[in-house]
Symmetry: C2
Subunit: 337 residues, 2 copies
């Protein structure tokens, strides 16, 4: 079968993501608020609807925008000109309408039917502190009701890469749906990519993630904290050594220190792009994965994939919210040509 | 009765606003989109729910934020440390919850009961073009169901200034509610302020506005286009001459050319504050009124009121959306001390 180096030419989609379909509520706050509400700075805490109500009540005014880690990545890929699809579940409510509109409006394919009963569309309260760090509290709502029946396996079989978030492991039904999809994708000649999502998420599901990473994932995304948590070490290089060789490609982000891309015995250290004042780190990891996977599915060399990821991440941190408000395609043409 | 120069000391509130309770959907777009959909650049068009659905479908991804002209003004006053109250109607839906939360979260008093039936919470599609101009399409929804019964007359009797938007004239029920409130406020010793809102709105209600301005309004806000439209003239100075003396205080904004404050035979020309790149003019007039009315109800000289208005407007145009994302109180302390 003819390929562009990595994938069957017959693929109608570049990347299909399965993830939580979430509307973000961005609230600018300070460290005292985080302490007062026992929120772990920089992390993601799961909350129920009642806790979400209490926290929201105590919060300052918000700015609402579609979010969700994998969904943000898919939007980045679509904005770069890639063919992206998303599978995730909203409720048939106003926030669900916003989520569906926003992802379709950038040209990503999204046709998971909205739930007509059960929990409301997922919301994530994102507290942005003056240092641009974001601290998240997520009510998963309708997202947890993603079932294997929701999977459009035709999308999964026709994509070069299937991408999922570790956050899905917090919902047993969504986890089952993902495993079924991953098998279908690989059988059709596609590859599977995974983001570890969050250090606390890795803590909750370490054994399961280790099993996945050892042989079921082709492309792994993690940040420094997550990869250290996966191998329960404080030594970054030791964690890299342990993960090296487990997947075909591994990309580890380190915030302001750039990122490291590993493949076999090769290693590339990628710098960051400073495109303006650091406003809000929400979506930085998601957009890194978006840029990387876009390059990867276009057959770009891995170093260039890392640079494209770093550029997209560099853009999104200069604005409030995880969905780029400028043309990433234009940005890439200007900065990487 | 003791006063601070203008108002009874017994007032428990500085400014109470009556207006449309709206959630904005900010969409970055280009002039071609406006032409294609026959939208009058810079204006506000009323649309029904079906038109809103069709336009939204055609729009790019949005950013949702609480809005509404008078509501934005009340938020500005609360953020400056003033005692603000708001009267307006939402539905008991997710967008209504967002609106109610955001205005209460800045400390403004808002307790109009949410409608339990009828149209959904009002939405305004705001198209922001690269020149930072905003073009609005509003589905008034539950806002039009504001009835005299919704009026908390105790709030209206205890405020120094009652502030309303010309947009209310587009809903006969809301207009009746306002007139009842204005009478109650003046009887209790308060003053009435009005914003003409929009040139097309003035076109729709010219006779009614002229009657109001001639004797029923103490403080009038307008922009250059609106005041010209009111007197059907292309000559700004002629319009100023005609309006002069109709109200105690008149403040006319002129975009980048600053603003003019008139009172009796006095006139002050106020400059603008350039605080950064011009991003989005949404809320500029609303925040000018907010800064002005805050100064006015604190007994500041009129020139200073105009400067405070110009400063708040200068801040809000440097960001996307009509609700300031920084502390206006701090800004005023830094820039006007």
């Amino acid at each position: 079968m003819a390929t562009n180096g990595r994938f069957p030419n017959s693929c109608s989609l570049d990347v299909v993501g399965i993830g939580n379909a979430i509307v973000d509520v961005l609230v600018q706050t300070n460290d005292a608020f985080l302490s007062e509400h026992n929120l772990q700075k920089g992390g993601m805490t799961l909350i129920d609807e009642q806790q979400a109500g209490v926290l929201y009540q105590a919060s300052g005014p918000g700015l609402e925008t579609s979010g969700g880690s994998v969904a943000n990545t898919m939007v980045g890929i679509a904005q770069l000109g890639g063919r992206a699809g998303f599978i995730g579940r909203v409720r048939d409510d106003q926030l669900g309408t916003i989520f569906s509109h926003d992802i379709q409006a950038v040209g990503a394919r999204f046709d998971t039917p909205a739930a007509t009963s059960g929990a409301a569309t997922a919301r994530c309260l994102i507290y942005v502190t003056p240092d641009a760090e974001r601290t998240m509290c997520t009510f998963l709502g309708a997202s947890t009701q993603l079932e294997p029946d929701d999977l459009d396996l035709s999308m999964v079989r026709e994509t070069k890469v299937l991408y999922l978030e570790g956050y899905l492991w917090d919902s047993p039904a969504a986890k089952r749906a993902f495993i079924a999809a991953a098998e279908a994708c690989r059988t059709a000649g596609g590859q599977v990519a995974l983001s570890l999502s969050d250090g606390f998420c890795v803590d909750r599901h370490r054994e399961s993630f280790l099993e996945l990473v050892n042989g079921h994932v082709d492309v792994l995304f993690a940040n420094e904290g997550e990869i250290k948590s996966l191998y329960q070490t404080d030594d970054f290089d030791q964690a890299l050594e342990q993960v090296s060789g487990c997947c075909s490609v591994i990309a580890v982000t380190r915030g302001g220190a750039g990122s490291v891309v590993l493949s076999g015995t090769q290693r590339w250290d990628i710098g960051i792009y400073s495109l303006g004042e650091l406003v809000d780190t929400t979506g930085a990891g998601d957009l890194y994965a978006g840029g990387f996977l876009h390059g990867y599915t276009q057959g770009e060399p891995l170093e260039r994939c890392g640079q494209l990821g770093a550029l997209c991440a560099g853009q999104v941190v200069t604005q409030l919210g995880p969905r780029p408000q400028v043309s990433l395609k234009q940005l890439a043409a200007d900065q990487l040509s």
